[in-house]
Structures are given as structure tokens and as C-alpha cells.
């Protein structure tokens, strides 16, 4: 028996894995300056586009002046940026994404279905003379991970057992529009004796119905965010695995003693445990436990377009997800041994879909969504900031005279049919809109197709505040 497996038996696999990973990290980070950025966001919040655009601008930072607020780039101290993604097992499909955005007509990159990684090495001249005496150039390694937003929704499961999860889902299913959409499914649940021996086929029927329900919730009509478990929607490599045949038991049962072996309840509970252990925990441990900085991308316009239910659901989802991250001050030693997130940027993406004078309101509205999460972070002493950004600007600002009043509006191409449109999208409320304001004509946000992103010669007008975002995240590293 090898030493490795002996050790594994002695201290347990998890701990050993952790130690191994940490040692590897320490060696890597001790030698060079290393920064891991978590790009967090629900599905369709623009993670892939954010990463694509950021990397594209950074790779061109030594020659173009497209990031005026990114100090190290605008002062010409970046020598070169190298893409090391190929060294990763699952490289980020950067070429494909840039090609999608660069062709004529350009279109948005396809949404992510698996996990991928970007690794960048930024070589730059240090600003201070003292540092330059020691070292003429320095290198900063930047790691960014892209993954489907659906998987992120599993992270809150880490702290819940099956019973608690069912309780949470019960309150969720008691609210509209879930309650009426799931009426049949809920009725079907009531007919089952959960403590009776399980019938596989019944479980399969119910879990298929549950998956369909999740798809409906998530669809264009409702756009709900709190979809658990996330792999039911986007299984990745787990396609067809019986592990995914799970659903919450919403029918209250009195459990005075553990449910009998082989009963419906017990089978579902054990599947849930296995899912949590093998899927969620692994995903978290391998990719999500070690971050230094975090970007939380939020699509506020979706919430405004879909109304109160969508807003509340989004707020709940984001607050729950953010509880799974390690926050706290992260000094040099800390960063070596167990990194913690010490800076969080809340970015409302798609700022180009509203007029420039509404960006401030967008910030305010974003604060409404993230206020609970932000309060917890502030308590931990974490620097947070809200920023309205657009990774790729798809509209131009224009002006129109309507009823003798000059309105600033947007000109862009519709995503659905490629038609050119001009739009006055309305004003973003800075407070939670009242019941009658949702779904009225007070605001209307269309989806625009991207404008072409050139391969070289990038300009500040290709994005909105992407430079401020990266400056905030990496400022003191340079």
C-alpha cells in the first residue's frame, strides 16, 4: 500500500486534497504575484462576454489606449500580456468568442455549458523607483474561470441537508408564479406515501416533471433565478445520471425517526446527499474556494423587464450564492496560505442598454438587489463597489426631439431580427417600483445585437467602464 493511500485513509480524502492543492498554490504564489478573480453571475448575466472582452482588451493593452482608467495600461507601463490558457486542462474558447464578435454581422458568443479557464501573464514595469531598482519588470498572473451560471445555484446547497432544502423549496413554491405553474406536480406529490418503499419509475416521472418545471421557470416568460439543483437544467458530463433524478419533497411529513430504508423519502435524501457530496462539493473545492477578488455581474434590466417576482427571486439567488464565498481581509501571508476575497465589485452589466444619464440610477437599482449581500460583506470589512458596465458596447447614444423635449436615446441593432432601432428606454427607478409600475410602459429594455469588436486598434468606445472594473480589482497589485 502506497504512502498516499495510507495517508488518505488516515486523514480523509478531502483534507488531503486541500493540503495538496494549498501546497501547490503556495509554491506558485510564493514565486510570483498571483491573482484569482471569480466572475460570479446568474446565467445570462454576461460572464462569458465580460471575460472575453476583458481578456481581449488586456491582450491589446500594450499598444492601444482602450483602457484609459486602467492606470498601468494608460501610463504605458504594460510591456506585454501573454495568454497562458493553453496550459490549462480546459482552456477558455477565447478565439471562438472573439471571432463571433468580430465577424460581420457580429453576434454574441454562445452561452457556456462547461467549465473553462483563462490564465494571463501580465508583464509590466513597476511604478515606484525603488521597486524598479530591484526588478526592471514584474509579472502578474491572472486567473479567471468561466462556468455556467446554472451551476452556481448549487453552492447554497452546501450548507443545507435534504430536510432543510425541502423546507426552503416549500416556501419558494408557495409564492407566485411557482405555485400556479407547479399545481399539477404538487398534486401528484400529495398522492404519494413518502415513507412507503420507493418505486423507481414513479421517481423518474416526478423528477422529469420537476426538470420540465425548472425549465419553464427559467424560460423567457418568467425568468426566475432560483433554480435548484442547477445540474438538472444543465447536466454537463452528468447527462442521464440517476444522481440527477432528485426533487424536493414539498409534502410535509412528520419524521420522528429516520425514514425507513428504501422508502421514497430516504432514496431522495440519499441522492441529494450524494449530489451534494460528489457534484457540488467537488465543484466548490476545485474551483470556488480559492479566490482573491470577485466580480458579481447582475442583469438589472432583466429584473425590471420581468417584474417583481423576477426581482425578488434574483435578489434571493444572489444573496444565497454569495454566502458560499470566503470573505475577509487577505494580507500577503493570508493570500499565500488560504486566500480570501477582500474586494468585491458589483457590476450591473448591459449598461449600454440604457442611456448614459441613467447609469447612476442603474447603480442605485443594483444596490437594491444586492443590499443584503453587501451589508454582510461590509461587516466583514470588505471593499465593495457598484459599477454600471458594458463589456461590449452595442449601442450609440443619440438625441431625439419628442413633443418639443430633447430626449437622449439609443441607436442599435435588434438582437432578434438585426433591424436598426432607436429607443428611448425610459428611466430606471432608483427605488423599488410600485405594483402598477412593473410591466407598464415606464421602461422598456430591448436586447441589442453587439457592434463589431475589431481584432486590433481597440478604443475606449468599445466598452463602458471595463477599465474601471479592472482597475478596482487589481489596483494595488501593480
Amino acid at each position: 500500500m502506497g504512502l498516499g493511500s495510507k495517508l488518505k485513509r488516515l486523514i480523509g480524502e478531502d483534507v488531503l486534497d486541500d493540503i495538496q492543492q494549498q501546497l501547490k498554490d503556495v509554491v506558485e504564489q510564493g514565486l510570483d504575484r498571483h491573482l484569482k478573480i471569480a466572475v460570479t453571475g446568474l446565467s445570462r448575466s454576461g460572464k462569458t462576454v465580460f471575460i472575453t472582452s476583458l481578456v481581449h482588451h488586456l491582450l491589446d493593452a500594450h499598444q492601444s489606449q482602450s483602457l484609459p482608467f486602467f492606470e498601468v495600461a494608460s501610463s504605458g507601463r504594460i510591456i506585454s500580456v501573454k495568454n497562458l490558457s493553453e496550459t490549462s486542462d480546459t482552456p477558455f474558447p477565447l478565439k471562438q468568442a472573439i471571432q463571433d464578435l468580430g465577424q460581420q454581422p457580429p453576434h454574441w458568443p454562445a452561452s457556456t455549458v462547461g467549465l473553462s479557464e483563462v490564465k494571463l501573464a501580465i508583464r509590466y514595469r513597476p511604478a515606484s523607483r525603488l521597486q524598479r531598482l530591484v526588478q526592471e519588470t514584474s509579472t502578474l498572473y491572472l486567473d479567471i474561470i468561466d462556468y455556467p451560471g446554472e451551476w452556481l445555484l448549487d453552492l447554497p446547497l452546501l450548507n443545507l441537508d435534504f430536510n432543510q432544502w425541502c423546507d426552503k423549496q416549500r416556501t419558494l413554491f408557495a409564492t407566485e408564479p411557482r405555485a400556479s405553474l407547479a399545481k399539477d406536480w404538487l398534486a401528484a406529490q400529495e398522492t404519494i406515501d413518502w415513507l412507503a418503499p420507493a418505486d423507481e419509475s414513479v421517481i423518474k416521472v416526478l423528477s422529469d416533471a420537476y426538470t420540465d418545471l425548472l425549465h419553464t421557470f427559467r424560460g423567457e416568460a418568467y425568468s426566475l433565478s432560483m433554480i435548484q439543483p442547477g445540474r438538472c437544467i444543465l447536466p454537463g458530463q452528468l447527462q442521464g445520471d440517476p444522481l440527477l433524478q432528485i426533487f424536493p419533497v414539498l409534502f410535509t411529513i412528520e419524521l420522528n425517526e429516520p425514514a425507513p430504508e428504501g422508502s421514497y423519502y430516504q432514496v431522495l435524501a440519499s441522492r441529494y446527499e450524494a449530489y451534494r457530496e460528489h457534484v457540488v462539493k467537488r465543484f466548490y473545492r476545485e474551483h470556488f474556494s480559492r479566490f482573491d477578488r470577485q466580480v458579481v455581474l447582475v442583469d438589472c434590466l432583466k429584473a425590471l423587464n420581468h417584474g417583481k417576482a423576477c426581482f425578488e427571486d434574483m435578489k434571493l439567488a444572489i444573496t444565497e450564492i454569495l454566502q458560499s464565498f470566503n470573505y475577509g481581509s487577505s494580507g500577503f501571508i493570508r493570500r499565500l496560505f488560504s486566500p480570501r476575497i477582500d474586494k468585491v465589485l458589483f457590476a450591473s452589466s448591459k449598461a449600454d442598454h440604457v442611456t448614459a444619464n441613467q447609469h447612476h440610477n442603474l447603480d442605485k437599482f443594483l444596490e437594491l438587489i444586492i443590499q443584503d449581500a453587501q451589508r454582510d460583506m461590509r461587516f466583514e470589512g470588505i471593499e465593495t463597489r457598484c459599477l454600471a458596465i458594458a463589456s461590449i458596447r452595442s449601442t450609440e447614444s443619440a438625441e431625439a426631439v419628442l413633443d418639443g423635449q430633447t430626449l437622449s436615446c439609443l441607436k442599435g441593432t435588434r438582437k432578434e431580427n438585426g433591424e436598426e432601432v432607436a429607443l428611448f428606454p425610459g428611466e430606471i427607478p432608483t427605488d423599488l417600483p410600485r405594483e402598477q409600475d412593473w410591466n407598464s410602459n415606464r421602461f422598456r429594455f430591448l436586447d441589442f445585437a453587439p457592434r463589431r469588436l475589431p481584432l486590433t486598434d481597440l478604443k475606449p468606445e468599445h466598452h463602458i467602464r471595463l477599465d474601471q472594473a479592472i482597475e478596482f480589482l487589481t489596483k494595488e497589485m501593480f
Binding site: 494608460s74 515606484s128 523607483r129 448614459a356 447609469h359 447612476h360 447614444s397 467602464r465
Partner: protein, 339 residues
């Protein structure tokens, strides 16, 4: 009726009147409900900003008489003297007379031009200060549209100076999505980049020079003159870099303001300076006392240079003062070790 008193006179009232007033007072309305529509909301009293108390200058009448008469007397004496000089020249020989009158004319015209230039510099300094304040107010604003007004003023301010071209290019590059604060930060950072670099180098050079000179000069009395001389030269150069018309009046005003600002530096600045001084003192402990004095003089020059940049720049400075001062200290020490 100018001397009517500001207060109301004391009046003796009849008891009967008093009673009546009391009755009127006690007639209070009964408690009742008022329809919501009839109610007018009472606006909150906006707190008025407390007006700044400023000492009122009261020029003494005698001082004015004295200054006026002295100026007239001196002026008359000078004019008389010049007149006598010219007429004496003509008496001796017409060519001498013409030469004298030509010299007087040149002196007169030159003086007036010099004065005008100085006045222009003063005016520029004043405008720069005003713009600086406006820019600082806008710096953290997230509004839209106010920065455009300021940009127009800045553009006007830089008209007919060598800086106008770079400034106009920077303004053209301002993005339509920027809010006021971002516009200010962008223009401040990008429009004056070359000037900032030149000013920074000028400051560094003069500070190091004065530091080294003081450290090496054999006579203590000399030090003051050295520092003053380098400082004045640096102020003139910095003003020139930022497109402010040079002149004695400008330089004098700038010096006055710089010294004033240093003397009344805010607490934060004092702590910065103390920090850099601490750093330098720990470094110079191993060196001689004269080297320490040199570092001190260099830091003083650097500080006044930073203040001058702040005064000459119509947009707020975002550079780290601490860094600059530390780098000056380092350079002085390096230069001293070499010599």
C-alpha cells in the same frame, strides 16, 4: 431718521387689553379630523449654509493719505529728474538728448508691457484657482451634463497657449458614457500628461539640486539664499510649463500662496510630510548632520513645488505626493553618496 433704534420700545399695557388677549389666546380649535386633500405639506426648512465670517478690512485713512502722497512725491521727483536729464542732454548735444529720450521711451513701454504680462499671469492664476475648485466639486459627482460647462471654460482658458492642441484632442476623446466625475478624472489625467511629466521632472531636479547644494555649502548663511533662489526659479518654470504667463507679479503671488499653503497645510498633509521626514531621518542617521539639512531643504523645495503645481493646474492633481517626496529624498541621498 437714520438713528432710529433697532429694538421696540417697552410699552405699558392696560390690564383690560391683557385680558382680551388672553381670551383670544385660549380659543383653541377643537380636535377634529381634516380631509387629506385639504392638507398642504409643510416643507422642511432647508438648512442655510453658514456664511463665512471674514475679517472686514478697514484701511486706515491716514495710511492711504501717506501712501498716496509718497507715491505722488516720488513719481513727481522721478518725472522731474527724467525731464532734467533729457533737457540737459539736449543742451549738451541733440544726439545725447535723443538717446536719452529713446531710452526713457523704451523703459516706459517695456515697463508697461511687463506689468501687463504680470497682470495677465495673475488673472490666469485666479481663473485656474476657480476652475480647480469647480473641478474638485465635480470630481465625485455621478451626474451628467455639468462637466461640459467646465470643459468649455477650460478650453477657453487654454486658448492661445501652447497647450491648446493637446487639450482639444483630449476633450475630443471623452466618451459619451462618462459621467461628470469621470470626465474630470479623464481630462485631468490625459490632457496635461506631458505638462505633468515636465513639471515632475523640474520639481525633482530643483529639489535635488537645492538639497545637494545645501548639504555641500560651507556657510550656513548661504543656505537660505540657495534655497530661495532655486525655489523662485522652480516656481517660474512650473508656471511656464502650465502655460501661465510669467512675470514678477505672478511669481510673487505664487510664492506667497505656496508659502501660505505650506504653513497652513492640512493635518493629512502634515502627516504625509512627517512620514517622509521620519523615513529620511532614519536613512540619514548614518550620514552627517549636513546631509540631513540637505534632505530637509530638498524636501522643502519639493513641497513648495507640489503646491505650485496644485496652484497652476486648473484640474485636481491625482498623483501621490508621498511617492514624489520619497523619490526626492532617495535621489538626494544617492547624489550625496556619489559626491
Amino acid at each position: 431718521m437714520a438713528d432710529q433704534p433697532q429694538w421696540k420700545e417697552a410699552v405699558i399695557l392696560k390690564p383690560a387689553d391683557l385680558k382680551k388677549a388672553e381670551v383670544e389666546h385660549s380659543e383653541k380649535p377643537l380636535a377634529q379630523e381634516i380631509p387629506v386633500e385639504q392638507v398642504v405639506m409643510v416643507a422642511d426648512e432647508t438648512t442655510k449654509p453658514v456664511e463665512k465670517m471674514e475679517a472686514v478690512k478697514k484701511p486706515s485713512r491716514w495710511k492711504r493719505f501717506f501712501a498716496g502722497s509718497v507715491a505722488t512725491l516720488l513719481g513727481a521727483a522721478v518725472i522731474g529728474e527724467i525731464y532734467r536729464l533729457i533737457s540737459w542732454g539736449f543742451e549738451v548735444h541733440p544726439i545725447l538728448g535723443v538717446t536719452f529720450s529713446g531710452l526713457v521711451g523704451i523703459t516706459f513701454v517695456g515697463g508697461i508691457l511687463w506689468l501687463w504680462q504680470g497682470m495677465r499671469g495673475l488673472r490666469q492664476l485666479k481663473i485656474a484657482e476657480k476652475l480647480h475648485q469647480e473641478a474638485i466639486n465635480l470630481q465625485d459627482q455621478k451626474t451628467h451634463g455639468q462637466a461640459a460647462v467646465l470643459l468649455k471654460k477650460l478650453d477657453h482658458y487654454y486658448d492661445n497657449t501652447p497647450l491648446t492642441e493637446t487639450f482639444k484632442t483630449a476633450i475630443r476623446q471623452v466618451d459619451s458614457a462618462y459621467n461628470d466625475g469621470e470626465i474630470i478624472r479623464y481630462v485631468s489625467h490625459h490632457a496635461l500628461q506631458a505638462q505633468d511629466e515636465a513639471a515632475r521632472r523640474c520639481l525633482h531636479r530643483h529639489s535635488v539640486q537645492s538639497g545637494v547644494m545645501v548639504a555641500l555649502s560651507p556657510y550656513a548663511t548661504f543656505d537660505m539664499w540657495l534655497v530661495g533662489w532655486r525655489n523662485l526659479k522652480m516656481l517660474r518654470e512650473i508656471a511656464d510649463i502650465y502655460g501661465i504667463s510669467p512675470g514678477a507679479a505672478t511669481q510673487w503671488k505664487l510664492l506667497k500662496k505656496v508659502l501660505h499653503n505650506i504653513a497652513f497645510a492640512g493635518l493629512s498633509e502634515i502627516s504625509i510630510h512627517a512620514g517622509s521626514h521620519l523615513l529620511s531621518s532614519s536613512l540619514t542617521a548614518s550620514l552627517s548632520a549636513r546631509a540631513g539639512q540637505g534632505v530637509g531643504a530638498g524636501l522643502f523645495t519639493a513641497r513648495s513645488g507640489l503646491q505650485a503645481i496644485k496652484l497652476c493646474r486648473p484640474l485636481p492633481v491625482d498623483e501621490d505626493a508621498q511617492k514624489q517626496l520619497t523619490s526626492v529624498t532617495q535621489s538626494i541621498l544617492v547624489a550625496l553618496k556619489k559626491s
